[in-house]
Symmetry: C2
Subunit: 725 residues, 2 copies
């Protein structure tokens, strides 16, 4: 790619970005769009502009984002969002500090280096063009100028260590602050118990669980919920809610029809058969009313059966203080580790109830099977990616799709296509995967949604690193040199290292496209806006339905994290080879910080809170990128015939491992469980245990009036008699 097509690409991206910015400014001012651009504030009952000055200024949102503090983010969106900002600003800091030194030092060193034109150089195919001149590939083999690059490798590494360490400490503090808050947080009083052994003869499951915990915690055990197989109750509950919605809708339609000069209104009819298409014609409102009554009775009956007869081998246990709950979650309860396994309870809204009764070994087997499936997925995707990078050159396209020739040959279109085609193909391709990986992660038997999100993100990260980064880089040269790898697996690193410079410009464009177009779309929310207006116009009748149409969703870490991580890996790996990429990385994370601040404060609503458990996941991957970078640099310096490489560069990955080891030792365990020193802080009020307890009852078991009596009766037989202990 030459300079002009690179600049065209950048220019077009920037143009799109400016258009989207303008759209955002224009659209977000119109009151009917407020629900899309200020969803979070509206849901919290705030006026969209309450407390904000000068909403008319098109750049007001930037000032607001910059003025907001971490405490604001935590208040509005929780610790997880704040932790994500720590991640963004840490990476931003790493890139900024690296760029400040590397760009002014390395670019001149590389650009003024004498050119050695080998036939088979390691840089882009063809001659050195203007961009490649600024890369390390332009420096002569064995030249003393390489020392500047060695120092740069160290600088990037130590900046990363320093900022990661600071961030880990800071996030530990955020998590501790949140967990020691004096607010009552229901999940802090509960633990999950799984793998309960078979019920002994003459006891119910409920009695077994209650007597077990009553013996261990005579003073602090409050009550328990035995997990039940709710599938049938859930189905009935879902049907019931459906009819309720339909009823509300019909009533509104009926009310509207009465206004239109027809005082009686028209009552619509429906058919009782399949999908309302066949069967007897009846009055809709009456029919739904009847159905609802019927289903409520059915649900109540089913609830009784479920609670009594469908108890399974898992339970939620409640304690009347936080210290006991958090100590219990960390302690071994039974001599056999695979029974009565106890863990911290996630928030009720993020529990995946179906996964709770899965057995210890079943979980482990599922995990390994799924790792294997993911492994296969990652490696069979290699093939399509290979095809894409082969297809997406213009010459190939012209050959394969000759009818496109006249279009492609126009110079304007040609440049644009040349700049975008490969990147667009890649981005579209990557959109297919997350749901599949999410499904797989759920199938592992993980009990909380936040953990599933992390597991998905982890799998997706492997995928993107292997397929996008390594795949694109090595892809073209891989097959021809496959035999040399078979002989000596170490040459894989050398291969990666020598293929790196060739793809530098590709990734430069890739990153620029991601931030200009990606963040432009993110900020302007064009897609949700259009969807909302279409739905509102043609589908929604009730308030409830409108609300659903503009529901903003959460940050979707499962895909956001690996996307950002891919950029982290690309930028960090190219930081020394092609320092030009660093400013792009800075802009990427700078824009992300700004736009995400706006979105977090005004749009997204987090669907769970894991108190920063995401952080070790992020930290590990940044460190892994650093190690990948250090390893490829060893290979690349070797390829550059820089003979001091082994003694000087090999210590770096070792230092990284030691750094990781110390961080893990010092910080990690607190992210897995709550420290007692944190849990023992005083609460501002005595917790109402009844409320805590009820918050964990799934909606399908608690929705109707009958519940009071029923739960008193069925759920707390033992704890009631237990109170006389």
């Amino acid at each position: 790619m030459d300079l002009s097509s690179f600049l065209t690409s950048l220019g077009t991206s920037f143009l799109i970005f400016m258009v989207l910015m303008f759209l955002f400014t224009w659209l977000s001012r119109r009151p009917e769009n407020h629900v899309v651009y200020y969803s979070n504030r509206i849901l919290m009952g705030l006026d969209p502009f309450e407390g904000l000055r000068a909403p008319r200024n098109p750049f007001a949102w930037i000032r607001e984002a910059l003025a907001s503090t971490e405490a604001d983010v935590i208040r509005v969106s929780g610790v997880d969002s704040a932790v994500y900002f720590v991640f963004i600003s840490t990476v931003l800091g790493i890139f900024l500090l690296s760029a400040l030194v590397l760009v002014p030092v390395l670019l001149p060193v590389a650009a003024t280096s004498k050119i050695m034109m080998d036939a088979n150089d390691t840089t882009s195919v063809g001659a050195f063009d203007d961009i490649d001149k600024f890369s390390m590939g332009h420096v002569q083999e064995g030249s003393p100028r390489l020392w500047a690059f060695v120092v740069a490798v160290y600088w990037v590494s130590f900046v990363t260590y320093y900022l990661l360490w600071k961030a880990y400490k800071h996030v530990s503090g955020l998590r501790a602050q949140a967990l020691m808050s004096s607010e009552v947080k229901n999940e802090q009083f509960a633990v999950l118990v799984r793998d309960i052994p078979p019920v002994p003869h003459g006891q119910t499951r409920k009695e077994q669980v209650d007597s077990y915990f009553m013996a261990i915690y005579p003073e602090t055990f409050y009550r328990s919920i035995v997990v039940t197989d709710n599938s049938k109750a859930n189905a009935i509950y879902g049907e019931l809610e459906g009819y309720k919605k339909k009823l509300a809708r019909e009533e509104i339609i009926y009310a509207e029809s009465r206004h239109d000069g027809n005082p009686d209104g028209t009552r619509s009819t429906t058919r009782t058969g399949f999908l309302g298409l066949i069967g007897k014609k009846v009055d809709s409102i009456e029919y739904y009313d009847e159905k609802i009554k019927e289903l409520i009775a059915k649900l109540e009956a089913e609830q009784k059966v479920t609670v009594k007869d469908k108890q399974q081998c898992a339970a939620v246990i409640f304690f009347n203080n936080r210290v006991t709950a958090s100590a219990a979650a960390q302690s071994l309860h039974d001599t056999m580790v695979d029974t009565w396994t106890v863990m911290e309870a996630p928030e009720p809204r993020q529990i995946i109830w179906n996964n709770l009764p899965k057995h210890f070994y079943e979980r482990q087997i599922r995990q390994y099977v799924i790792y294997f499936i993911v492994f296969l997925t990652i490696f069979f995707y290699m093939i399509p990616i290979g095809f894409i990078s082969a297809f997406t050159t213009l010459d190939n396209l012209k050959k394969l799709l000759p009818f496109l020739k006249p279009v492609i040959n126009q110079p304007g279109i040609k440049t644009v296509l040349e700049a975008y085609l490969p990147q667009l193909a890649l981005i579209l391709f990557l959109a297919l995967l997350p749901n599949f990986l999410m499904f797989l992660s759920k199938a592992e038997g993980i009990p909380s949604k936040s953990h599933v999100a992390r597991a998905t993100s982890g799998k997706y990260f492997y995928f993107s690193i292997l397929n996008v980064f390594i795949g694109v880089t090595v892809g073209s040269t891989l097959f021809s040199t496959f035999k040399s790898i078979e002989k000596d697996p170490n040459s894989l690193i050398t291969l990666l290292a020598t293929s790196l410079p060739g793809s530098a410009t590709f990734f430069l464009t890739f990153v620029a496209l991601k931030f200009f177009v990606g963040y432009g779309l993110e900020l302007s929310r064009i897609v949700p806006l259009i969807t909302f207006h279409l739905k509102k116009r043609y589908l929604c009748k009730t308030e409830e339905e409108v609300k659903e149409a503009w529901a903003p969703g959460d940050l979707e870490y499962a895909t956001r994290v690996p996307d950002d991580m891919l950029v982290v890996t690309i930028v960090i790996c190219y930081s020394v080879i092609a320092p030009l990429i660093l400013p792009f990385g800075v802009v990427y994370f700078g824009l992300e910080w700004l736009i995400l601040r706006n979105q977090v404060l005004k749009v997204y609503v987090p669907s769970y809170e894991s108190y920063g458990r995401l952080w070790p996941h992020l930290y590990t991957r940044v460190l892994a990128s650093l190690i990948l970078y250090q390893t490829t640099m060893v290979g690349y310096f070797l390829a550059k015939k820089f003979f001091y490489t082994p003694p000087i560069l090999i210590p770096l990955p070792i230092i990284s491992f030691i750094f990781g080891f110390i961080c893990k030792n010092k910080f990690y365990r607190f992210f897995r469980s709550t420290a007692l020193d944190v849990a023992c802080r005083e609460l501002k009020e005595i917790p109402n245990m009844e409320v805590v307890f009820r918050s964990f009852i799934p909606p399908s078991l608690s929705c109707e009036k009958g519940e009071e009596y029923q739960f008193e009766d069925a759920l707390s037989l033992v704890s009631r008699t237990g109170s006389t202990f």
Copy 2:
């Protein structure tokens, strides 16, 4: 080695064994020796023969050993000893079940195989002699008879899995039983805290610790002991105890001298200077009396200073119930994992106080440094072992020490020397190491003696496997084939496999020597008996000194375990190659069981109790031996040109790893910490916390009358005021 020298070796060993047995029968009957042969019973205040029938029968001890139950062992010697018997009987079971199948099946298969005399066969140098005929080396390469050996490999493996699983379950039960006992065990109410951060301004260490735990455990925290630097107090205490002993001794000498017709007696004198050799001559009794008074005052003053000013960053915390203590030991207390680290308290008698204040990272660095030293030790010992196996052939001896020629050439002596020389050299050599390894393990910063014993045993195990087993086996052929290993590290296994049969007879003799002579010495206690009588006659004056002279010591797991493990590894690795070794293994562990039962019930006094924590250590090493065996069998079958090897034998080590993984998942954690279900069992009395607390005060701080006041004052300032919380 030919058959006759093998039989001579066996015969001589057996003869020595019989002589030692006879000595035991004769000596143990004599009342003045009872303290050596019945130490444990005497220390427990029992009559040596109380409850035992027919002490006159020379084989009575065998009947008594066989009649004793596991409960007897636990009662007399604790869970650790019982667990050791589980280990012995498990290994005995493995060898017995293997022998029952392998000996009658494989010996005929091997012996009737046609001999293929290759020049470079893998068996002993020279021709097949009578013993080697019964080994797998005698079977032709690629012969279908090898299938019998394949089946045998599987049989041994599955017998091992089955018995290890059963044993692990049984030991878990023993540990649970002991920990849920209704007796008050002081250490179950305490935890150790290490890595306490620096004292905040305006607080004492004591206040810091007490307020920290009071906040977390307002109702269950009882009191704390801050670990102090006792080195000075210990020195004074040691001096004081020394003078007390000397005084007692002088008083007895004086009393004796009065009886001998001299009514005034002779009062001995001593000099006040260095070692009593120089300086002023004074009356001993008066001098010692004065010294003791002086030292008591000095100790009291030092105790006050120590308790107040020498507090360090570790403490023992007491709780008033077992569940809290065991949950606390398993919970994270501070957000930073490297501060306020909490662990289960070992028994007071096995705490290594000096190691408690060592810091988190100091401990880790020490550990790695020591691993490195051990690694060096293991590999530099290779060289002497190599020398020994080169020297200890008679021909070499004759060449190097020609003056021995006339002695060696006598046929009787020649046979004996030929049979014993290499083995004796090896055994002597191995006796040098344990103390060094024990010292290293202590320097790691491990806080309990039982853990140090395990760490030492682990290091010693590596040593003996690498140097004795692999060293002797491969040693001779290693140097000549060193280059082939360099080219292909995998060939190490093949090398080991092909060298195995050659050393079979060596190890046969080695095992036989170990059990006949080793257990003969163990049972007859000749060495302790002679030492005791010598000391009693020439050194001991006071009762106390006599008691010290016959103090039996404990089982010394640090050396006993690796010794037995070496035999386990040898026998299991040779089980299929030379099935003749199995009966030897059976006799070894059969005799060990019998003789150790006798010694445990009547002689040894355990110096600590770790509630079976030794077991995972034993189990892991048995499993490791099994995996070593399976791997070498893969190599050996490959060397035998048995082409079904990869699909048929390679799954075995994989199964072993899965087995180990499951066992670890299911059982291991309970051996690291106490399950709450176990800790919550009721006690038969309310524990006297004052007694629990006092049991942890080191003797040098608690020996004199002043303690009451002092400890009340200095140790429990906060907990006293705390009781008004």
